[in-house]
C-alpha cells in the first residue's frame, strides 16, 4: 500500500480540517495557568487538570469575564495545530466554572466597573411614572416573563409592550441581549424604558448577566433600564448598572406601572376627602350665622335697656318739673297782674282761690 506523502503545510491544513470536522466546537473544563495578555490584544493561558495541560489562545474582545490563574473555567474552543506544530485551543469564549470561580470573577469585574463609576448613583435615571411604551428583553418561554406580563396586565393597561425574544442563559445569551438592547436603542420610536427580565436559576444560569460587554451596553443605553433577574437574593452586575433594579420579574412589573386598583382607591379617597371639608364649612358658616344672630340679639337687648334707662331718667326729671309736685309740697301758683287793686288767681294743690292785691312791694 502506497503511503500518502504530505508537505508540512498540507499536513497541518489536513490535520486542522480533521480536527474541525471532528470537534467543530467543544467545551473543556480546567484550571487556568500562565494567564497573560500581549499587546493589549491577545490572550494566552493554559488550561490544565491533574493529568495534563493545553495551551489556549483568544483575543481580548472575546474575553467577556475576568479570569486569572487558579480559576476554574469552561472554554468553548476549536482545537488547532499551529504552523509551528504546536497544538492549541482557539478559544471562542471562556466562562468561570463553579461557585468559587464565578464569585471571584464577579468580584474582580465588579471592582473594575465600580472604579469606572458605572454603578454610581448619580448615573441613575428615574423611570417614567406611567410609561406608554415599554421594551422587554426576555425569553418568551421563561416563567419570569409570564409572571411579568400577567402582573403588568393586572396592574395597568394601555401600554404598548414590544418584546425582544432572546436566550436568557447560556453562552449566547449576553450577545443576544446586547443585540436586543441595541435594537431598542436604534428604533425611530424609542420605548420609554427597557426591561430585562429572567427568573431564578443557578449561579451558572445567571452568569450571562455578569458579562462585561452586556453590563457596558446597559450602561450606555439611551433608554432608561430596569433589570429584574433571578430571585431576591441574586445580584448581578446587570442589576447594579441598571437605572433601576428589581428583585424579581414580578417586582419589575410592580415597579414599572402603577396599580390601577390603587389608583381607583386613591380616586375614591379623594372624593371622600372632599365631603368632610364641605360639611365643616357648612358647620362653620352655621356657627357664624348663629353667633351673628346672638350678637345682634344681645345688641338689641342692650339698646333696649339703655333706652329704657334713659326713659326712666327723663320721666323722673319730668316728674320733678310737674307743677303739681310743687303744689303738693305746699307751693302755690299766682296768676294775674301784681299791682295793688288787681284781681289775681291763686292755685294750691287742693284749691283755686280768687283774691285782690292789697299791697305790692318789690324785693
Amino acid at each position: 500500500m502506497e503511503k500518502t506523502r504530505f508537505s508540512v503545510s498540507d499536513f497541518i491544513a489536513i490535520t486542522n480540517q480533521t480536527l474541525e470536522y471532528a470537534y467543530p466546537s467543544l467545551e473543556i473544563e480546567g484550571e487556568v495557568a500562565s494567564f497573560k495578555i500581549n499587546q493589549d490584544k491577545y490572550v494566552f493561558f493554559d488550561i490544565k487538570d491533574a493529568g495534563g495541560s493545553l495551551g489556549c489562545f483568544m483575543t481580548v474582545w472575546q474575553l467577556r469575564v475576568p479570569i486569572e490563574d487558579g480559576m476554574k473555567v469552561i472554554v468553548t474552543a476549536t482545537p488547532k495545530l499551529t504552523q509551528w506544530g504546536k497544538f492549541s485551543l482557539t478559544v471562542k469564549s471562556v466562562r468561570p466554572s463553579g461557585e468559587g470561580a464565578l464569585k471571584k470573577s464577579f468580584e474582580i469585574l465588579k471592582a473594575k466597573l465600580d472604579s469606572e463609576g458605572l454603578f454610581a448613583l448619580d448615573r441613575k435615571r428615574s423611570l417614567p411614572p406611567v410609561p406608554k411604551h415599554i421594551g422587554v428583553i426576555s425569553s418568551t418561554q421563561a416563567a419570569g416573563y409570564a409572571d411579568f406580563i400577567k402582573i403588568i396586565g393586572d396592574r395597568w393597561g394601555g401600554v404598548k409592550i414590544d418584546v425582544a425574544h432572546v436566550q436568557v442563559q447560556g453562552a449566547d445569551s449576553p450577545d443576544q441581549i446586547i443585540r436586543a438592547l441595541q435594537y431598542f436603542n436604534t428604533r425611530e420610536e424609542l420605548p420609554e424604558v427597557v426591561v430585562i427580565i429572567r427568573g431564578g436559576g443557578s449561579a451558572d444560569d445567571l452568569a450571562g448577566f455578569n458579562d462585561e460587554q452586556l453590563v457596558r451596553t446597559i450602561a450606555a443605553s439611551r433608554i432608561p433600564t430596569l433589570v429584574g433577574v433571578g430571585h431576591e437574593t441574586d445580584e448581578s452586575l446587570s442589576d447594579l448598572v441598571a437605572d433601576v433594579s428589581a428583585a424579581t420579574p414580578s417586582n419589575a412589573a410592580q415597579l414599572i406601572v402603577p396599580d390601577k386598583a390603587e389608583v381607583v382607591r386613591s380616586v375614591r379617597y379623594k372624593i371622600q376627602s372632599v365631603l368632610p371639608r364641605v360639611l365643616q364649612v357648612i358647620s362653620d358658616q352655621r356657627s357664624l350665622v348663629r353667633e351673628s344672630l346672638e350678637r345682634a340679639l344681645r345688641a338689641v337687648e342692650t339698646q333696649h335697656e339703655r333706652t329704657e334707662d334713659q326713659f326712666y331718667r327723663l320721666r323722673r326729671v319730668l316728674e320733678q318739673l310737674d307743677p303739681n309736685v310743687l303744689l303738693k309740697r305746699g307751693y302755690a301758683l299766682l296768676r294775674g297782674e301784681t299791682k295793688v287793686g288787681s284781681s289775681v288767681e291763686i292755685e294750691t294743690y287742693t284749691a283755686i282761690i280768687k283774691a285782690k292785691v292789697e299791697q305790692y312791694e318789690p324785693k
Binding site: 406611567v130 393597561g157 409592550i161 414590544d162
Partner: protein, 69 residues
C-alpha cells in the same frame, strides 16, 4: 388606541386633583361646591371605567437576535 385613552386618564386624574384642591382653596364657596363635587364624582367614575377597559398591547418583535444581522 391605548395611548390616547391613557393620556385621558392622566388628564382626568390631574383635573380631579385640581377640583379636590379647589375645596381646600380660598376660592371655595358653598354655592359652587355642589356643582364642583358632582363634576369630581363624575370624573372619578370615568377614571374607574377607563382603567377597567384598558388592555396592554403586546407584540413580540420579528427581528431575531441569535446572530448578527
Amino acid at each position: 388606541m391605548s395611548q390616547s385613552k391613557d393620556t385621558t386618564i392622566q388628564e382626568k386624574i390631574t383635573e380631579l386633583d385640581g377640583l379636590v384642591a379647589w375645596f381646600d382653596s380660598d376660592e371655595f364657596t358653598l354655592e359652587l361646591a355642589l356643582e364642583k363635587f358632582k363634576t369630581a364624582e363624575s370624573l372619578a367614575l370615568g377614571i374607574e371605567k377607563d382603567l377597567a377597559a384598558l388592555k396592554n398591547d403586546i407584540q413580540v418583535v420579528k427581528q431575531k437576535f441569535d446572530s448578527e444581522s
